[in-house]
Structure formats: structure tokens, C-alpha cells
């Protein structure tokens, strides 16, 4: 009897809590629009990972330096949460009729933090000496020149260059000051530890091992912004400490899974905090599964389809990721508003069917097992090892012997992308909306570069795919590009060299008094110029 009452009480309160959590998630953004931003205050922010290697890492360097540098340095455009483009340092980007050149109109009256004016020379320098050398070499392979024009810069290409593609490059590439970097090795320039940019925040101080301090740029081109007086990016290595810091109001904004998942619900229910999944369109994180085409058994697409059918991805999403993930349906994220193909064959979990598929593929059970595979779960995320355990169990249920290894980061990189020493790899990627070149490099023959990470490590090579990728790089008609992307996903879903095992749903956790966060494709790369504190 008592247990019955307890159960009812429990169900009642949790239903109430769920409603409360739901309302706290739904209402504020609508209300936000009417509120007038207040000036002042210092925001303390963090993210779910570690301190960056340097405040700005020219080559990229992962999420942490992306977060720390984009408050200071700015791109020409930025992407909003519907994959549209907003002006930043460029006010307009106009393609020529044949899409072989683009006129970039630059914003006037912008100055660098050291007082020097921002000019077209800085943009040309950034394109030629920085983007083409490091970050966008593959993306701009048809580049033929950048010249200063009246009011801006003209970028020319040897082949037609799709508008969405080029604007995506502009939205993810930072402009660096020519007068600081000219004539030096960009990678080792001391300014990378104390960057000078055009952004809403100026670099103030970096206490290694603790935090980076930013001051508001009072000469920012977007008059009246930033709303904050200052910004502090703090780094905790321990997720539970981040929860404590939020609760003690020593931290107000945490992006990209800052706290342990069970704490997300607990804090949201308290009514003092808001959890949001907005701002990850441009960094759609997924856990991927890759089959090594060089290995005898898993090179057969029929085997791959069978193995994928044997994996219970719904349970993995619920248990390993506490429901903050969902089974993948394509090689492209389902949140991708431009290119996601929803009509692909699904490999729904069905162990019996999977066993039958392996029988049909010519691998019946001999004794207890069919064959043996080496499953490598990349150890850079703790969850990957757990996913590995689930996959191992699932595969063993249909008679596949599995050797699971979970090596650390450096070893995983070397084994998957350097030595190709695995049968099945569980890895991750963060995808942008534009598929060329990051995502297409996982499938194309040109993506096979020994030792280069997060490329085609499976050795999959298909002339049809290469042809589609080549066409996508020069097709200026948006509808036709979409068709090509759909076709690409059909082939990927059929041959399965790599696919998304589960899509992750990253979470931003913030104090209720933090306002103005939103409408960005990638919150990590947002300058936070629109953010304000309601105190």
C-alpha cells in the first residue's frame, strides 16, 4: 500500500517537474524579444572541455580555442540558426553571374583593438597568407586571386564556386590583422596568446590553468554593443565543479555540455537555470561508426548493413547519453536544414534480422561464432568507451566475436587515421551545414590521406561518389546541389563506409539572468556581443 502511494506521488511530482522544465525551455525565448537589453556586468562563461592551448590557434585547434578566439577575432559573415548568413565585417557578398568571382563589400569605420584601421588589405592578407595556407586550403582549391577593389575585395576562382559554399567558408574563417602577422610564421606568432582583433571584446589577461579575461571594446563597430562590461572564460576540468559554480553563481553560462547530464534536469527544474539546445547547427556532433574497407569481412556492404541492424542505437542514446542523443538516419545530421535526406533506408534494430542478413551474406555460424572483429572506440570522449561496450554486446548476440579496445586520444588517432589498424571504429565528428569539403572528405577518394585525421580512413573509394563531390564543388544551382547531396547520402546509406551511429544533442546551460543567447548556427563561435545580464 505504501509503495503504491509512493509510486503515485513520485509519478505526480515528476510529471509536474517535467511540465515546469518544459515551460522554462519554451517561454523565455519568446519573451526575450520584447525585453530591452541592459548594459553592464561581467559574464563568467565556460564550456564542457578544457582550457585552450593558446587563446587563438591559427590552424583551428578544436573547440576550445574556437571559443576563446572568436570573442576577439571576427569573420566576414556569420551563420544564423536557420543557416542563413548575417553580416559581420562584410556588409555584402555578391557573386558574379558566372559564380567565378565574388565582390565582398567591407564594413566601414572598423578599427583593430590597437587602434589601426581595418582595411581590405587585412582581408586579402588573411585569404592569401592564412586561409589558403592552413584552414581553407581544401575548400578554396579553385581559388585564383584576391584583389582590393573600391569598397572591398574581389575574390576570383578558376571554376564556378557555389554561393552557400563560399559564404560558409567566409562565416568560419577569421580575419587577422596584417600589420601584426605580416612577415612572420603565423602558427608561432606571440600574438596568438594575446590576439588583436576587431571583435566586441578585447584580450585582457590569460591566467594559464584558470581563466581568460576580456574587456569590452568601447570602440566596437556595432554601436552600443557589447552589452557586457567584461567577459571571463573560466576552465574547470571537473564537470561536477561546474555545476557547483553555476549554483553558487560564480558561473552564468556554460556551452556544449558543461555539466553532468543528470544535473541538467535538476538545475532546470530549480527554475533558476535554462537549458537550451539552440546553437549547434554549425557543429552537429555525432558519434560515428566506420568500417575499414581494407579488411576482408567488413569490406562487404552486406555485412556492414547486417552489423548496423544488430546495434540497438535507441538504447545507446537513452543509456549512454541519458536521452540527449538520438539514432542517426543518415551520414548527414538530421538537423541540417539544407542537405539532410530523410528518405533513406533505415537500419532499425532487429537482432534476428541481422543474424539472417549475415547468414545470407555468407557468414553463417560455425560453432559459436561467425567471425572475429577488432572494434576500436576512440577514447577522446568517455562515452565512446561505453558505446563500445554496447556495440560489442549487440554484435556478440548475433555471433560476432568482438575484441574491443578503447585507446587514449593520441593512440586512437594513430590507429584509426594513421595505421588503419581496426575493423570497426567508433569515432566522432562535428559537421557544418555545408558538406564540402569536411564531410565529403570522409567518402571521396581524395579524402584518403594517410596520417590525416577526420578524413576518409575507411579506404572507401567509389568513382560515382567522387563524381558527385566534384560536381557539388562547382554547381552553382542550389536545387541541383541539394539533389547531389541527396544522391550522395543514398550511396553512403547503401555502402555504409561511415555513418552516424547516434546524433548528439549538445546542451547549453545558463543562469536565467543571461539573455540574448541565440539565433546562431554555432554558439561556440559566437562573439557574445548580443548577450546581456538581467540583474
Amino acid at each position: 500500500m505504501t509503495s503504491h502511494i509512493n509510486r503515485r506521488v513520485f509519478l505526480g511530482t515528476s510529471a509536474l517537474a517535467a511540465i515546469a522544465a518544459g515551460t522554462s525551455l519554451c517561454f523565455p525565448p519568446a519573451a526575450l524579444a520584447q525585453e530591452k537589453p541592459k548594459k553592464g556586468g561581467v559574464l563568467v562563461a565556460t564550456w564542457g572541455g578544457f582550457e585552450p592551448q593558446a587563446v587563438f590557434v591559427p590552424g583551428g585547434g578544436g573547440s576550445s580555442p574556437l571559443i576563446s578566439s572568436t570573442k576577439i577575432l571576427e569573420p566576414l559573415l556569420r551563420q544564423d540558426s536557420q543557416a542563413g548568413f548575417l553580416p559581420v565585417l562584410a556588409t555584402e557578398v555578391k557573386p558574379s553571374a558566372d559564380f567565378k568571382s565574388y565582390d565582398i563589400v567591407l564594413r566601414k569605420g572598423v578599427t583593430w583593438h590597437d587602434g589601426k584601421p581595418f582595411t581590405a588589405d587585412d582581408v586579402v592578407f588573411s585569404i592569401e597568407k592564412y586561409w589558403l595556407q592552413t584552414i581553407a586550403k581544401a575548400a578554396l582549391k579553385n581559388f585564383s586571386g584576391a584583389e582590393v577593389t573600391e569598397g572591398g575585395v574581389r575574390v576570383s576562382f578558376k571554376e564556378p564556386t557555389p554561393e552557400f559554399f563560399f559564404k560558409s567558408v567566409l562565416a568560419t574563417s577569421l580575419v587577422i590583422p596584417k600589420h601584426v602577422y605580416d612577415g612572420s610564421e603565423i602558427v608561432t606568432n606571440p600574438a596568438n596568446n594575446a590576439p588583436i582583433g576587431t571583435g566586441p571584446f578585447k584580450f585582457k589577461q590569460w591566467v594559464r590553468g584558470s581563466h581568460i579575461e576580456y574587456a569590452a571594446n568601447d570602440k566596437y563597430w556595432d554601436a552600443g554593443k557589447p552589452y557586457l562590461n567584461g567577459l571571463v572564460m573560466r576552465y574547470w576540468r571537473d564537470a561536477a565543479s561546474r555545476t557547483a559554480a553555476l549554483e553558487a553563481d560564480e558561473l552564468q553560462l556554460g556551452i556544449f555540455n558543461p555539466i553532468p547530464t543528470p544535473d541538467i534536469d535538476r538545475l532546470s527544474k530549480s527554475g533558476k537555470f535554462v537549458a537550451s539546445n539552440d546553437g549547434y547547427l554549425g557543429a552537429a556532433w555525432a558519434s560515428t561508426i566506420e568500417f575499414n574497407s581494407r579488411r576482408d569481412i567488413v569490406k562487404d556492404p552486406a555485412v556492414r548493413r547486417a552489423l548496423l541492424t544488430a546495434i540497438d542505437r535507441a538504447t545507446i542514446s537513452d543509456v549512454v547519453y541519458f536521452g540527449r542523443a538520438k539514432p542517426g538516419t543518415s551520414f548527414v545530421s538530421s538537423t541540417n536544414p539544407k542537405f539532410y535526406n530523410p528518405n533513406l533506408p533505415r537500419y532499425e534494430f532487429d537482432a534476428k534480422k541481422a543474424a539472417k542478413m549475415l547468414d545470407d551474406a555468407g557468414y553463417p555460424k560455425k560453432g559459436k561464432s561467425r567471425f572475429k572483429v577488432h572494434l576500436l572506440a576512440a577514447g577522446w570522449f568517455e562515452e565512446n568507451g561505453k558505446v563500445g561496450q554496447f556495440v560489442k554486446q549487440n554484435l556478440e548476440d548475433i555471433g560476432v566475436e568482438v575484441t574491443l579496445t578503447v585507446p587514449d586520444r593520441a593512440t586512437s588517432l594513430k590507429q584509426i587515421y594513421g595505421d588503419y589498424d581496426y575493423d570497426i571504429a567508433l569515432s566522432n565528428y562535428a559537421a557544418r551545414v555545408e558538406l564540402v569539403p569536411q564531410q565529403t572528405d570522409y567518402l571521396s577518394t581524395s579524402g584518403i590521406v594517410k596520417g590525416a585525421a577526420f578524413r576518409n580512413a575507411t579506404g572507401y573509394s567509389n568513382p560515382e561518389v567522387d563524381d558527385i563531390v566534384a560536381k557539388m564543388s562547382v554547381e552553382s544551382d542550389e536545387a541541383k546541389r541539394k539533389d547531389l547531396a541527396f544522391k550522395l547520402q543514398e550511396i553512403a546509406a547503401r555502402d555504409l563506409p561511415i555513418t552516424v551511429l547516434v546524433e548528439l544533442i549538445p546542451t547549453t546551460m545558463m543562469s536565467k539572468k543571461v539573455k540574448g543567447v541565440g539565433n546562431r548556427a554555432d554558439i561556440s563561435a559566437d562573439s557574445l556581443s548580443d548577450v546581456w545580464l538581467d540583474v
Binding site: 602558427v187 571537473d238 588517432l413
Partner: protein, 322 residues
């Protein structure tokens, strides 16, 4: 005494050499290299760029040449350059080593003070309620994981009571005078030093108690009592001083372990020490920083042990005459 200090210096040099060779070999044996990490993070795929970076990092030379070059540079007081942090290794470590040393010394201070007091009380009041409570507490703090204790202290003192800050070493952007700054650091230091210190205090309590009890049973203590000395004087002047030697030995041995234990505490309290730097550097195979941290820590531990030896001289006249 001078001779033994000179001998010690030679020992330190050979120790550093050993640290370099051993750790270099271990890092070389681990799969993956700094190049793998850096190029994967920076998404470098161009073979020419890969080769350029390899040359820039000095990874295109045979391991033995890298080792000899590194050893030579250490003994000419240069710990090398870290491409990952884009700064000289010495600067990076010195930005974070002092805060680790502060945390380490404070927690050792807490440990020794608490441990000795508790140990003395337990031994004097042996087999009473005092002894039982102290022994139980010692077992608890020894068994409790330091990170758990840290989180519990944060939740209680920082989140619930709001007495102390949840982490960091200073109040960011806080403007205090010189005295205010010291107070600020102390406020931030209390919880991490306690979490780390209580664990070691447990060990000192046990050792001190056992050592005191042993000395209590010796003849000279009975003589002192027979002379009619007061109880306090017997405990402090005769027993305590003689029971200290094992504690001092332990202190020397533990300087190294505290450095390791601080890694966890630094993570929990976001203390800007070298713990996280060391972890990151091992994970990214950034051997100049790993070796730099080890070399500097070896120096610290060796110097600390030298000081411990000097303390022996003070404490025990028999060692002096040897």
C-alpha cells in the same frame, strides 16, 4: 655537512638525467605523437604542410638525437619550446608551478599539523574515546577519495553556506590592496588545502600515534618520569621529539606523491596548477612540457629531501656525529 650537500648536488644531477632518459623513453614508446595530435586538431592534410610541421617540431630526427639535444638544452638551463602552447616551456611551467607549490606546501602543513596533534592526543589518551574517534576519522579521511571530499566541501561551504569561493585561486577582476590579495588567496586556498591535507593528515596521525606509543615504552621515558618531570614535559621534550623522526621521513617521501595527488584537487577546484598542464601534455604527447614538468618537480622534490635531511641533523644528535 658541506660535503654531504655537495654529494647531494651530484645526486640531484644524476637524478635529473635519469628522469629525462626514462620519461623520454616512455613517451617515445607510447603510440601517437605530438604531430598526430596537432595535425588532427588543426585538420592539416596537406603532405607538404605535414612535413613542414614535422621539421618545425624537430620530429624528423632520430629519437636518440632528440634525446641528446634535449638533455644538452636542459643542462644549459633551457627546457625547450612548446609548439602546442606557442611559448617557451619554462614560461608555461613557471606560470603554474608556484600555485601548485603553494597548494602542496599548505596542504602538507595542514596534514603535518593536524596529523601530529591528533596523533599525540590519540597516543596520550590511548584506548579511550578520544583515541577511537581520532582513529575512525583517520580511517575515514584516508579512505574517502580526495575528489569526492573536495566536491562535498564545495557543496557545503561554497554552495550552501556561501562562505568560501567554489574554485580558482583569486577573485577574478577583484580589486584589493596587498593585504586584501593575500586574504583573497587564503580564502580560495582553504578548501583545496583541506581536501588534500586531510588525506595526508590521516597518514600522519597513524604514524605519529604508533611512533609515540613506541617511544612511551622506552627506558629513558620511565627515567624521565622517575625524575619527577611533569607529564607535559615528558610528552613534549622526551617522547614527541623522538617520535618525530618517522614523520619527517614520511614528509620527505610524500612530497612527490602530493604533487601527484594535487592533479585531482586542481581539477575539482580549478586551481591553476601544473596538474592539468601535465595531464594535457601527456595526452597530447607534448614531450618538452612533460619532461619539463618532471625535471622541475624532480628538482623540487630533491631539494625538499635535502631540507628533510638537514632537519634530521637538528632532531637527532646521533646522525650529526656519524
Amino acid at each position: 655537512m658541506k660535503r654531504s650537500i655537495v654529494r647531494r648536488l651530484f645526486q640531484i644531477i644524476s637524478l635529473i638525467l635519469g628522469v629525462i632518459v626514462m620519461n623520454f623513453t616512455l613517451i617515445q614508446m607510447a603510440p601517437g605523437s605530438l604531430l598526430d595530435i596537432m595535425t588532427s586538431e588543426q585538420q592539416v592534410t596537406d603532405p607538404a604542410t605535414l612535413q613542414h610541421l614535422k621539421h618545425l617540431y624537430g620530429l624528423d630526427q632520430p629519437a636518440i638525437v632528440q634525446l641528446l639535444r634535449y638533455t644538452w638544452s636542459v643542462f644549459s638551463f633551457d627546457l625547450g619550446y612548446s609548439y602546442r602552447q606557442n611559448a617557451p616551456v619554462f614560461d608555461i611551467i613557471m606560470a603554474q608551478l608556484p600555485s601548485t607549490l603553494l597548494l602542496m606546501l599548505t596542504s602538507l602543513g595542514v596534514a603535518v599539523t593536524l596529523g601530529m596533534i591528533a596523533g599525540v592526543i590519540a597516543s596520550v589518551k590511548v584506548n579511550t574515546a578520544w583515541d577511537v574517534v581520532i582513529s575512525l576519522a583517520a580511517v575515514f579521511f584516508f579512505a574517502a577519495p580526495t575528489f569526492w571530499l573536495g566536491i562535498m566541501l564545495i557543496i557545503f561551504f561554497a554552495v550552501h553556506l556561501d562562505w568560501l569561493p567554489v574554485g580558482g585561486m583569486t577573485t577574478i577582476g577583484g580589486k584589493f590592496g596587498p593585504v586584501g590579495q593575500v586574504v583573497d588567496v587564503i580564502r580560495h586556498l582553504i578548501l583545496p588545502a583541506l581536501s588534500l591535507g586531510l588525506f595526508y593528515a590521516a597518514i600522519y596521525t597513524r604514524v605519529m600515534r604508533a611512533s609515540m606509543l613506541e617511544v612511551f615504552s622506552l627506558d629513558f621515558v620511565r627515567t624521565a618520569r622517575a625524575k619527577g618531570l611533569s607529564k607535559t614535559r615528558v610528552i613534549l621534550a622526551h617522547v614527541f621529539r623522538n617520535a618525530l623522526l618517522p614523520v619527517v621521513t614520511l614528509l620527505g617521501l610524500q612530497l612527490g606523491t602530493v604533487l601527484g595527488g594535487s592533479v585531482v584537487i586542481e581539477a575539482v577546484f580549478s586551481w591553476p596548477g601544473i596538474g592539468s598542464l601535465m595531464l594535457d601534455s601527456v595526452m597530447s604527447r607534448n614531450y618538452p612540457v612533460v619532461l619539463g614538468v618532471f625535471v622541475l618537480s624532480a628538482v623540487v622534490v630533491a631539494v625538499a629531501n635535502l631540507l628533510v635531511d638537514l632537519a634530521y641533523y637538528r632532531l637527532d644528535p646521533r646522525i650529526r656525529s656519524r
